[in-house]
C-alpha cells in the first residue's frame, strides 16, 4: 500500500514536472510595464495596445515564433519610477526563462533600472526615449536606444528645415525657436542644438515651458516679438495642444512649427481643433492603417475579436503604430536569437540580447513583414545600438497625419561623436571598460 502510494505520487509528480517543462519550453514571456492611468494614459494605452495586438497577431497567424508562443503580463507603472522598479523586479523571474526584454516607455524608469538590467542580464530596449549615449554599445551592452535618439532627431529636424529652405547653407542667419518642456527630457535638446547652430550658423532661441505647460502666453509673446523662422516644439502631454492653440492665437504659421515625436500624435492635434491644421511633426513610425501589417492585425486579431484596443478607431494612430513597432522589433530580435540558440526554444534574456545586437531589418525583411515605409530599415551592431537615426515628417491636414517626406537622415558623424564622448565620460565615472567589438561574435 505504502509502496503503491509512493510510486503513484512519484509518477504523478514526474508527470506534472514533465508536462510543465514541456509546455513551458514553448513559451516566451515578455513583461509589459504599461501605464493606462495618469497624465500620460492616452499615449500608454495606444502604445501598449498596439504592441499587444502585434504579439497576438504572431500567436494567432503564425502560431508563435517558430512555434514558441508569446506570453505577456501587464504591470501598471503609472509612469512612476518607484512603481516601474517594482514592476521590473516582479516580472524579471516570471515565465520559464524569465523576462525576455524590458521596455519601460518612460525615460525616468529607464534610468532607474539602467544598472539593474546589466546585473540581471535582461536587455532593455528604449525606442525613441531614454538615455541617448547608451547608443554606444561598447559601454552599454544591455541597453538599446533603437531606431533613433533625441540627438539624432534634433539633427534630423534641422536637416528637414534645410531641405525646406533649399540647402543647409541657407540656414545661415536664420532664427530657430526651441520651445521645450522644462525637464530633463526637454533639456536633452540643448547641447545638440547649440552644436548644430554653431555648425550651420543659425541662431537658437530657447524658450522653457514649465510642466505641465497649459499656460504659454508669455512664451508666445516672446515668439511673436522675435519672429523666428521656425519653432521646434519639444513638448509632451498637454503642452502640445496648448502650444498649437497659442500659435494660432498669436498668428504664428503652424506650417513653420515642427514637433518632435512626442508632440506628433492624434492626441496632440485633435484637442487643438482646426488650429492644428498644417502642423508638422517628426516620427520614427508613421500613422495610417494602409500597411499590410496593420491589415493583418485587423484581420487576424480584431477579426477574431481578440484585439486589445477598446476604441478600435485608434488602430492605425501614431501611438498605436508605435506599439506595433515595439512588437515588430521584439519579435524579430527573438527570431534572430532563435537562429543562433535553437529554433522553437524559449530563450533567456541573455540570449535575446544577442538577437537585438545582431538585428537586421533590411528592406526585404520589412517587406516580408508588411511594414515597408512603416519604420526605417534597422541594423544594430555591437558598437552602434541606435541604428538608422532617421525620421519621417508628417503634416496634420485637419483630419489625419499625412507623410510629407521620405526618411530624413541625421548628421550621423556629429551625433555619434557626441554619443561616444558622453559614453566615455560615463564609463570613466563608473569604471567600466568598454567592450572590444572586434572580439564579439
Amino acid at each position: 500500500m505504502k509502496l503503491k502510494t509512493t510510486v503513484l505520487l512519484g509518477a504523478a509528480l514526474a508527470g506534472l514536472l514533465g508536462t510543465s517543462l514541456a509546455s513551458a519550453a514553448e513559451e516566451q514571456f515578455i513583461g509589459l510595464p504599461s501605464y493606462r492611468v495618469g497624465p500620460y494614459a492616452a499615449g500608454g494605452s495606444g502604445l501598449f495596445g498596439g504592441w499587444i495586438d502585434y504579439m497576438t497577431l504572431i500567436n494567432e497567424r503564425d502560431g508563435g515564433i517558430n512555434g514558441v508562443k508569446l506570453t505577456w503580463e501587464e504591470c501598471e507603472t503609472e509612469y512612476n519610477n518607484a512603481r516601474g522598479v517594482e514592476c521590473y523586479e516582479r516580472m524579471k523571474k516570471k515565465g520559464a526563462t524569465g523576462n525576455t526584454v524590458f521596455q519601460p516607455v518612460s525615460t525616468g524608469i529607464t534610468y532607474s533600472v539602467l544598472e539593474k538590467v546589466a546585473q540581471d542580464k535582461i536587455p532593455m530596449v528604449t525606442i525613441g526615449y531614454g538615455r541617448t549615449d547608451a547608443a554606444d554599445g561598447r559601454v552599454f551592452p544591455w541597453v538599446f536606444p533603437m531606431i533613433t535618439t533625441y540627438w539624432s532627431q534634433a539633427s534630423a529636424i534641422v536637416n528637414y528645415m534645410g531641405q525646406k529652405e533649399g540647402g543647409m547653407d541657407k540656414l545661415k542667419g536664420k532664427k530657430i525657436g526651441l520651445l521645450y518642456h522644462d525637464s530633463a527630457y526637454g533639456k536633452e535638446s540643448h547641447a545638440i542644438m547649440d552644436k548644430l547652430a554653431a555648425k550651420h550658423g543659425f541662431e537658437v532661441m530657447k524658450i522653457a515651458v514649465a510642466h505641465p505647460g497649459n499656460e504659454q502666453q508669455s512664451q508666445w509673446l516672446q515668439i511673436r516679438q522675435a519672429k523666428p523662422d521656425y519653432v521646434v516644439l519639444w513638448g509632451w502631454g498637454v503642452m502640445n495642444p496648448t502650444a498649437i492653440k497659442a500659435a494660432a492665437k498669436t498668428g504664428y504659421p503652424r506650417e513653420k512649427m515642427v514637433g518632435v515625436w512626442w508632440s506628433g500624435a492624434e492626441e496632440d492635434t485633435i484637442p487643438a481643433g482646426t488650429a492644428a491644421k498644417g502642423f508638422v511633426a517628426a516620427g520614427f513610425n508613421v500613422a495610417g492603417a494602409n500597411y499590410p501589417v496593420i491589415a493583418d492585425v485587423k484581420k487576424f486579431v480584431y477579426g477574431k475579436d481578440k484585439g486589445n484596443m477598446e476604441d478600435k478607431t485608434r488602430v492605425g494612430s501614431v501611438y498605436y503604430n508605435r506599439g506595433v513597432v515595439h512588437g515588430i522589433i521584439t519579435v524579430e530580435a527573438i527570431r534572430k536569437a532563435q537562429e543562433k540558440y535553437g529554433k522553437g526554444k524559449a530563450l533567456t534574456g541573455e540570449q535575446v540580447r544577442w538577437g537585438f545586437e545582431n538585428l537586421n531589418l533590411d528592406d526585404a525583411r520589412l517587406k516580408a513583414l508588411g511594414a515597408t515605409g512603416f519604420l526605417p530599415p534597422l541594423k544594430i551592431t555591437c558598437a552602434d545600438h541606435e541604428g538608422p537615426g532617421k525620421v519621417k515628417f508628417q503634416q496634420w491636414d485637419g483630419n489625419q497625419w499625412k507623410v510629407i517626406t521620405d526618411w530624413v537622415d541625421s548628421d550621423r558623424p556629429l551625433v555619434r561623436g557626441m554619443i561616444e564622448e558622453s559614453a566615455a565620460a560615463y564609463a570613466k565615472e563608473k569604471g567600466i571598460k568598454p567592450r572590444d567589438c572586434s572580439k564579439e561574435s
Partner: protein, 355 residues
C-alpha cells in the same frame, strides 16, 4: 489575557518613562526587530527585499520626518519630496567631489544639507500658518526641483540631469546584494526612528507639541517660537534628506530631480494621514499601507477578474479602490492606523473582562 499587567511594578522614574512600559510590548518590539532584522534578510527573496521592504523602510523614514514637522510641531508642509531630493543630490556630490568620503559621513552631511535648506524654507513659518504655510513649502518643492535641473553642477554636468549613485562601501565592505542593502537600510531607519521617538518624548518634542496646540500660549509660557519652529524644520528636513539619500543609494540607484515631484510629497503626506498624525509608529504603518496597497491591488484585481475586463479598466479600478479605501479609513478612524492599534491595545488590556 495577553496584556495582563499584573505583577509589573515600576519602582523608579526611569522605569516609568520607558518607551515600552509594558513587558508584552517590549517583547513584541524585540520580536519584530528580530523578524525584520534577522529572519527577513535570511528568508525573503530578492523581489520582496528590493521592491517592497526597502522602499517601505525608506518612505517610513521620510514619513517620520514629515510627522515631526506636521504631526508634532503642527507646521503643514508639502515639500518633503524636495528635501529628499536635496539629500539624494547632496550625498551624490559629497561622495563624488571629496576623495575617500565614507558613506555614513556623506549620509549625515546630506541630512545636514537638507536641514539647512529646510531652515531656509522654514523661515516663512514664523509669520504664516496653516494652509498659507503649505503654499510656502510648495514653493520649496518647485524651487528645489527646478534648481537641480537648472544648474548642471548638481548632477555633475549630466546632459539629462540624472545621477547614478556610487557603490555603497563602509569599512571596505561593499553593500551590493539586496540582503546587505536591506540590512543597512533597516539599521539606519531603526536607529533614526528610535532617535525620533526619544526626541518627541523629551523637552524638544514637548516644545513642538506646545507650539502645535497653541503657539501664542506656548510663547507666553516661555518657549522661543523661532527656535522651536526652525528646529522642527531642521530635524524634519534632516530625516527627509537621509531618506532621500537612501532612496538613491539603497533603492533606485539612479535618480533624476523630476522623480522627487509634488506627487511624492503628497504621497508622504497621505502616509502620515493614513498612518496617524503625530505618531512614530503611524509613520511605519502609513508608509506600508501606501506602498503595499497599490501593489496588492495590482496583483489581486486581475486575479479575481482575469482577462474579462480591459486592461485600462483594471488599472483605473485599482485607483478607485485605493481612493475608496483611503476615504473609508478616514471616516472610520480619522486618527489613522496608529490610533486603531492603540484602541485594540486598550481593549486587549481589559479583555476578557471589560467591566
Amino acid at each position: 489575557m495577553l496584556y495582563r499587567e499584573a505583577g509589573q511594578f515600576k519602582a523608579t522614574y526611569a522605569e516609568d518613562s520607558q518607551i515600552f512600559p509594558i513587558r508584552q510590548d517590549k517583547i513584541g518590539f524585540w520580536l519584530l526587530m528580530l523578524v525584520f532584522g534577522a529572519a527577513v534578510p535570511l528568508l525573503a527573496n530578492e523581489y520582496w527585499l528590493k521592491a517592497i521592504l526597502i522602499p517601505v523602510l525608506i518612505f517610513s523614514l521620510a514619513a517620520i520626518g514629515l510627522n515631526i514637522l506636521t504631526g508634532y510641531a503642527g507646521q503643514l508642509s508639502l515639500g518633503s519630496a524636495a528635501f529628499m531630493a536635496v539629500g539624494a543630490f547632496a550625498a551624490y556630490n559629497f561622495i563624488l567631489r571629496i576623495e575617500g568620503m565614507p558613506f555614513l559621513v556623506a549620509l549625515v552631511l546630506a541630512g545636514l544639507t537638507a536641514a539647512l535648506v529646510g531652515i531656509l524654507f522654514g523661515l516663512p513659518s514664523l509669520r504664516i500658518k496653516g494652509f498659507y504655510l503649505a503654499v510656502a513649502t510648495l514653493a520649496a518643492q518647485f524651487f528645489i526641483v527646478w534648481a537641480l535641473v537648472k544648474f548642471p553642477w548638481f548632477s555633475n554636468n549630466s546632459s539629462s540631469g540624472v545621477v547614478t549613485a556610487q557603490d555603497v562601501t563602509i569599512l571596505g565592505y561593499t553593500f551590493a546584494t539586496p540582503e546587505a542593502k536591506y540590512v543597512l537600510t533597516f539599521l539606519i531607519v531603526a536607529f533614526m526612528a528610535l532617535l525620533a521617538k526619544n526626541m518627541v518624548r523629551s523637552s524638544t518634542g514637548r516644545a513642538w507639541m506646545a507650539v502645535r496646540d497653541m503657539d501664542v500660549a506656548a510663547q507666553v509660557i516661555g518657549f522661543r517660537l523661532m527656535r522651536t519652529k526652525l528646529l522642527a524644520f531642521a530635524v524634519s528636513s534632516f530625516y527627509c534628506g537621509v531618506a532621500g539619500a537612501l532612496y538613491a543609494y539603497t533603492y533606485i540607484g539612479t535618480v533624476e530631480p523630476e522623480g522627487f515631484n509634488l506627487d511624492l510629497s503628497f504621497k508622504i503626506l497621505f502616509m502620515i494621514i493614513i498612518g496617524g498624525v503625530g505618531s512614530i509608529m503611524g509613520s511605519f504603518l502609513g508608509a506600508a499601507f501606501i506602498v503595499l496597497l497599490p501593489i496588492f491591488l495590482d496583483n489581486l484585481v486581475p486575479a479575481i477578474f482575469g482577462d474579462s475586463l480591459g486592461a485600462g479598466f483594471v488599472s483605473n479600478f485599482q485607483l478607485i479602490v485605493f481612493g475608496g479605501l483611503i476615504i473609508f479609513f478616514l471616516i472610520v478612524e480619522p486618527h489613522g492606523l496608529a490610533r486603531l492599534w492603540q484602541i485594540a491595545k486598550e481593549k486587549l488590556r481589559l479583555w476578557p473582562f471589560p467591566h
